[in-house]
């Protein structure tokens, strides 16, 4: 909790993120190149799916991160509503477009994988539909932030919406157990251990690490953008108060 209190000061956060950004960006490139090499050249073909199994190395990390982003947004929403942490809604606002992108990639790569393996691009199965709902939730949350003018009110309302929408995350995870779906069941995060062969599991873990470093880098960058955007707004307000409206540039949204 100590580090969270310390990071409540945006200047402290900017200083820390200044040091962390180059580390995460470098790790993204190194682990990303290694992961792509393993996924495209080292991992063996599947005996049933042949080359198309390689789509898994981008589809699965995208799906994990789409759900992780939303879970982290829900924690941030709690930070806004319960602890009133000044950076909680900054974190959630920065995460929403990133989570939406990963949800979009999950849907698109899933459709591309579905065509050769299931014979269809799309099927209204519980897993696919719940991920589509997650993507629509992300778009709704992003829109809410844009339509509500007052930042504090926008933070509160979106926090409530994020928490309500969180019910969809366990539905995505357990949809393959609760319903009879076309989508396969869990094969990595299982109580009895992964059912994937280590030759395929290892590249998958490396790609998931690369995607995670990518998310960390962009999340920090987007949070810094949001802090600067708020600084711009407060300077604009100060100038308006000093009755120099002609000097105020267009509002940065």
């Amino acid at each position: 909790m100590g580090i969270l209190t310390k990071l409540a000061n945006p200047t402290q956060f900017l200083k820390l993120s200044d040091r962390l950004l180059p580390i995460f960006a470098t790790l993204t490139v190194i682990v990303g190149v290694w992961g792509l090499y393993l996924a495209l050249f080292v991992a063996p073909e599947d005996y049933q799916q042949a080359q198309t199994v390689r789509i898994m190395f981008i589809h699965v990390p995208s799906a994990w991160l789409a759900m992780f982003c939303y879970t982290f947004m829900a924690l941030s929403a709690l930070g806004t509503l319960v602890w009133k942490h000044p950076l909680a809604d900054v974190s959630a606002k920065a995460l929403a477009p990133l989570g939406a992108t990963f949800a979009f990639l999950t849907l698109v790569t899933g459709a591309i994988w579905g065509k050769p393996t299931w014979g269809t691009w799309w099927y209204w199965d519980a897993r696919l539909t719940s991920v589509l709902i997650l993507f629509i939730l992300y778009l709704g949350i992003i829109s809410l932030w844009h339509v509500i003018e007052e930042p504090a009110k926008a933070a509160r309302i979106t926090a409530v919406m994020i928490l309500v929408g969180f019910v969809n995350i366990p539905i995505i995870k357990f949809s393959v157990d609760w319903w009879n779906t076309l989508h396969q069941g869990a094969s990595v995060f299982r109580l009895d251990g992964p059912t994937i062969h280590s030759d395929i599991l290892f590249p998958l873990i490396v790609m998931a690490a690369a995607f995670s470093f990518f998310l960390l880098t962009l999340h920090l960058l987007a949070m810094r953008n949001e802090i600067m955007r708020r600084r711009v707004r407060s300077l604009q307000r100060r100038m308006v108060r000093n009755s120099a409206p002609d000097m105020v540039p267009q509002v940065v949204r």
Binding site: Q51, T52, P97, V232
Partner: protein
């Protein structure tokens, strides 16, 4: 048994690279835009303070 189907793999990887690249561009362009506005406003605030001192 599915034959090769390498075109699906290529399409999936290309789309992912374009989308993630677009996301990076979006964040960097946003950053440049805000930095520009911040610089302009800070300059104007400094001028305003200087004028009021004089």
């Amino acid at each position: 048994m599915i034959e090769g189907k390498i075109e699906f793999v290529i399409a999936a990887y290309l789309i992912t690279i374009f989308v993630l690249g677009g996301l990076v561009l979006f964040v960097l362009i946003d950053r440049a835009r805000i930095k520009k506005a911040l610089k302009k406003l800070e300059g104007e605030t400094a001028n305003e303070l200087k004028t009021s001192h004089e």
